[in-house]
């Protein structure tokens, strides 16, 4: 699974994310919710983001949002 994530999932996400703040550009969109939760699980349950600094920074940007913290209270 780690190999699959590193070689297939992460490059696609990186490519879409680029240097922008969110996956869809500079503004937060619902796609970030969709993708962000999967990344959250990948990071907190499986530690898959260790080698992906950019994705990790992106995830932490999402986790800083008040709505995220309200929805996942106690799970961070």
């Amino acid at each position: 699974m780690t190999t699959w994530f590193n070689h297939v999932v992460a490059p696609v996400l990186q490519q879409h994310l680029g240097d922008s703040e969110y996956i869809n550009g500079p503004n937060f969109t619902a796609t970030d919710v969709y993708v962000g939760f999967s990344l959250f699980v990948a990071e907190t349950q499986l530690g898959l983001l260790q080698t992906h600094k950019q994705l990790k920074a992106y995830l932490y940007r999402l986790m800083a949002r008040p709505a995220f913290q309200a929805a996942l209270k106690g799970w961070q």
């Binding site: 699974m1 699959w4 994530f5 297939v8 999932v9 696609v12 996400l13 879409h16 869809n24 550009g25 500079p26 503004n27 937060f28 969109t29 619902a30 796609t31 919710v33 969709y34 993708v35 962000g36 939760f37 999967s38 990344l39 699980v41 990948a42 349950q45 499986l46 949002r65 008040p66 709505a67 995220f68 309200a70 929805a71 996942l72 209270k73 106690g74 799970w75």
Partner: protein, 382 residues
């Protein structure tokens, strides 16, 4: 309502907002004048008024909230439908800061608003196709939508006809009382905070499902009326119910609901509750998230998220101020993600997204058995 609450110019740093009122004042007024039994109910009514364009946040950033946020009464929708206001009168509302003249023109606005609401109410009353089964929840909720619309209409009527000098306490009309009695019954059925209450909710959902099945056999499907681009249904006023296991995939839906500022009522669940018959009546897949908005049952996170986005998109106040007419939606618009998802994301879904999702399912030990037919049906619904 325009006469009952304090409408005046307010200043926020250097910007002055003319003739606005405070959100929590409006909520207080709705409760004090028995249009709503609780502040929560009043907020739902207020949100419907925002959605239909009768009131509007000064910057268009918020729906009605029980907070110190500022709102205008608006005559925006009337230009097309009623055309009852002369430009000079509107101009005096905009320029004159004094309370008496502004409330006078505001009440004339709500007179024409009333016609709009009435026409909506009458259209809706023809629309629901519920069966002759008078005891069913389905009937209850459709009659609820009618009587709630009627109560909005009567509310506007009383606001308009009331003399400006005497903002006396009003007595509720029979239809308002009956609508809230119905609301209380539905509320009792739907507010299932504990697992024991889940039985009641499941029974209600099952009754509704069987009722709608029998209804669809005999009568045509319910088609909600669309007026001025806004679909009027009982869902305008209904809370959004979500069955949620904390930390699971349903968190995604909850997160989006919070981002979109949708009034959501959460029923916390545990994984061992999923396969119980009372929950299977709510979601035959036996998985979270499951949701119910008014008379519409929803399951599958992706479908619920799409529904939430569409529902929030109807919340016109959220978008109109931010984008110029005719221009494509701004990048900040929540309308963009589904498009983007369909065009760009779908290509990569099989390789990137689902690999995480299947893992996610194994992790939490559910979601393996799917009723594909009902699942695709739930997507077709939204």
């Amino acid at each position: 309502m325009a006469t009952g609450i304090s409408v005046k110019d307010r200043r926020y740093f250097l910007t002055v907002y003319n003739n606005c009122f405070v959100g929590s004042d409006a909520v207080t007024w709705l409760v004090q004048n028995t249009h709503a039994q609780s502040r929560k109910e009043a907020v739902l009514l207020g949100r419907a008024m925002v959605k239909w364009g009768f009131i509007r946040h000064v910057e268009g950033d918020h729906t009605l909230k029980d907070m110190t946020l500022w709102y205008h009464f608006t005559n925006k929708k009337l230009g097309a439908s009623a055309a009852g206001i002369s430009p000079t009168e509107t101009a005096s509302t905009a320029n004159n800061g004094s309370n008496s003249s502004s409330t006078a023109s505001l009440s004339s606005i709500s007179t024409s608003n009333l016609n709009t609401v009435r026409s909506r109410a009458s259209m809706v009353s023809f629309a629901p196709s519920s069966s002759s089964n008078s005891a069913s929840l389905n009937n209850l909720s459709s009659s609820l939508s009618m009587s709630n619309l009627a109560s909005l209409a009567s509310m506007a009527a009383r606001s308009a006809s009331q003399p400006i000098q005497t903002p006396a306490r009003m007595t509720p009309s029979a239809e308002v009382v009956s609508s809230y009695r119905a609301l209380a019954q539905v509320g009792a059925m739907q507010q299932s905070k504990s697992t024991n209450d889940l039985h009641a909710a499941a029974a209600g959902a099952a009754a509704s499902a069987s009722a709608s099945a029998s209804a669809s056999a005999s009568t045509p499907r319910f088609v909600p009326p669309v007026i001025g681009g806004v679909t009027a249904t009982s869902r305008d006023i209904a809370p959004f119910l979500l069955w949620h296991i904390p930390g699971s995939r349903s968190s995604r839906v909850l997160w989006l609901a919070y981002e979109l500022d949708v009034a959501v009522e959460v029923t916390p669940m545990k994984p061992e509750h999923l396969k119980r018959p009372e929950y299977l009546a709510i979601n035959p897949n036996g998985s979270v998230p499951a949701a119910r908005h008014g008379d519409l049952p929803l399951w599958e996170g992706g479908a619920i998220m799409e529904y939430l986005l569409k529902f929030a998109a109807l919340d016109t106040a959220k978008f109109e101020s931010k984008s110029t007419p005719g221009a494509p939606p701004s990048p900040a618009s929540p309308l963009q993600p589904p498009e983007w998802t369909q065009v760009n994301w779908a290509r990569h879904q099989m390789y990137s997204y689902w690999s995480i999702v299947t893992l996610d399912e194994k992790l939490f030990g559910f979601g393996s058995s799917r009723l594909t037919n009902s699942t695709s049906a739930s997507y077709a619904l939204v």
